[in-house]
Amino acid sequence: MKLKSALTIAALSLASVSYAQEAAKVAPLEISGSVDTYFKYDFAKVPNIATSFASDQNSISIGMIDLALKKTTGKASFVGELSFGPRGQAGSLVPQGAESFHIQNLYASYAFTDKFSMTAGFMGTFIGYEVISPVANFNYSTSYLFSAGPFQNAGIKGSYAFTDKVSLMVGLFDDWNVYTDVNGVSHIGAQLTVSPVEGWTAYLNVLSGKSAGAVGVGTIMDLTTSYQVTEKVKIGLNAADYTIGNSGGGYSGAALYLQNAFSPAVSLGVRGEYFSTKDKVNGAANLNVVPGESVTAVTLSANIKSGGLTFIPEVRFDNGSADMFAKSNLLPTKSASQFSLALVYAF
């Protein structure tokens, strides 16, 4: 009887192994995601720095749980990415109704050839250095340029790779950060990608169009580049200019990223940023920076990794050209500082 059981188990094992080998030949469904949580403390004891997402003062708060699915069948593929939590919902998209989730990516692609592909749907924006997901950002708090720029764009785009080093994307897009464009497909965008040397990639981006309710056509020009200098040292740069016609305001700025990996598990990085708003007369305040004023910010972060977990202790100092922050007695002041501890788990 025991022998019979043993043989049955062996047969089942064989069947399982064979099945696994067959399954491996088919592109599997990819599932990935992340969760993040943080504690932030502003030294003025009031929420001050208008960073996206990590905004709760003196509170252990949640970011989001993010779940992504990807499947490729031949030349066709889709990505569906859904997030739940403050970082994914109201933090990055104007709430539309009472939904408790936020779509990060929902698109389908078709690769007509090795060089040319087309994609349509709702996608993470091609503008800028930082992204919504905390997994792909080194610093936990986000830059002014990230918060002021688009987060996502719905649209249709075609990408063509001229060589391994040069490619071009051109597309038609809706207004920024909306599932539905109420004034029609109103924006045109393009991205030129250049990789001059191994480890160095630069993206030249432009997105232009008139959003619903805007006084003029808004055009954002953006340069995003990063260079892996050595195994340990990485440099990144983001520079952007956004102008809305008819004196509608806008912003410009630049952020420099320097990172050093002391070991595969421990890295230290600093971000220095300058951000200014345009049009003293008609422009609107952007991230607490009133029109015509500017802010300089320095953020020092560490990334300590163990498996899928990253621990991010961070300290940040912001200094404005005018009073744009608050002291603990709520009187206005030019500077603000905060520290935060974040846990990000990617799977």
């Binding site: 022998l3 094992s13 064989l14 992504a68 993470g124 195994e231």
Partner: protein
């Protein structure tokens, strides 16, 4: 009878769970997979022809970098490391390596070395892409924090390298190019019944 079944069970188990040949360290401390294969009756030109056929069959997975000399060939390859659970899977990174083959009349040797791990990260579109362009040598000890993950990368690489070696040795034994096997599609005749 009982002994026979037990022996059969043992053989089955050994076959199914056969260990891959582990990666070794070479003189310079690098991980290496090294084999010398004797094919006594095969002339060098035939081996060269079989090697070319193998490289062509591997396609984009193996890029010929240089021919260091007339007899040694160098090519660059990579293997994707995946985390898999049931039918779900996602790539963790890739391991780049160099493949060398040297041919002589009646024998050849080949080795895979310069293993460098490049972790993947998810980009803004939900795709996994290399997080860096400069890899970490696989023989380097990662420290306690990531030791478990690193062991998994080495095991996965060992498995893929063994599979590559098996493919290569099979190709080098073929006396003529492999022809795709056409399966006969069963047809039901409705005329005879």
């Amino acid at each position: 009878m009982k002994t026979f079944f037990l022996t059969a069970l043992l053989l089955i188990t050994v076959t199914v769970f056969a260990q891959d040949k582990p990666l070794s360290l070479d003189e310079s401390g690098k991980l290496i997979f090294y084999e010398v294969v004797d094919l006594k009756t095969v002339p060098r030109d035939s081996l060269r022809q079989r090697l070319d056929i193998f490289l062509k069959a591997e396609g984009k997975a193996l890029k010929v970098k240089s021919k260091a000399s007339d007899s040694i060939l160098q090519a660059a390859g990579k293997t994707i490391i995946r985390k898999t659970a049931l039918v779900l899977s996602r790539p963790s990174g890739e391991v780049l390596y160099n493949f060398y083959a040297e041919l002589r009349a009646g024998k050849y040797r080949f080795w895979l070395t310069d293993f460098n791990f490049i972790p993947y990260e998810r980009d803004r579109y939900g795709n996994f892409i290399p997080a860096t362009s400069i890899g970490v040598p696989l023989e380097r000890k990662p420290g306690k924090l990531n030791a478990g993950e690193w062991d998994a990368y080495v095991k996965a690489t060992t498995k893929d390298v063994n599979a590559f070696a098996a493919r290569f040795k099979t190709a080098m034994q073929q006396s003529s190019p492999l022809q795709p096997v056409l399966k006969a599609v069963p047809v039901i005749s409705t005329k005879k019944w």
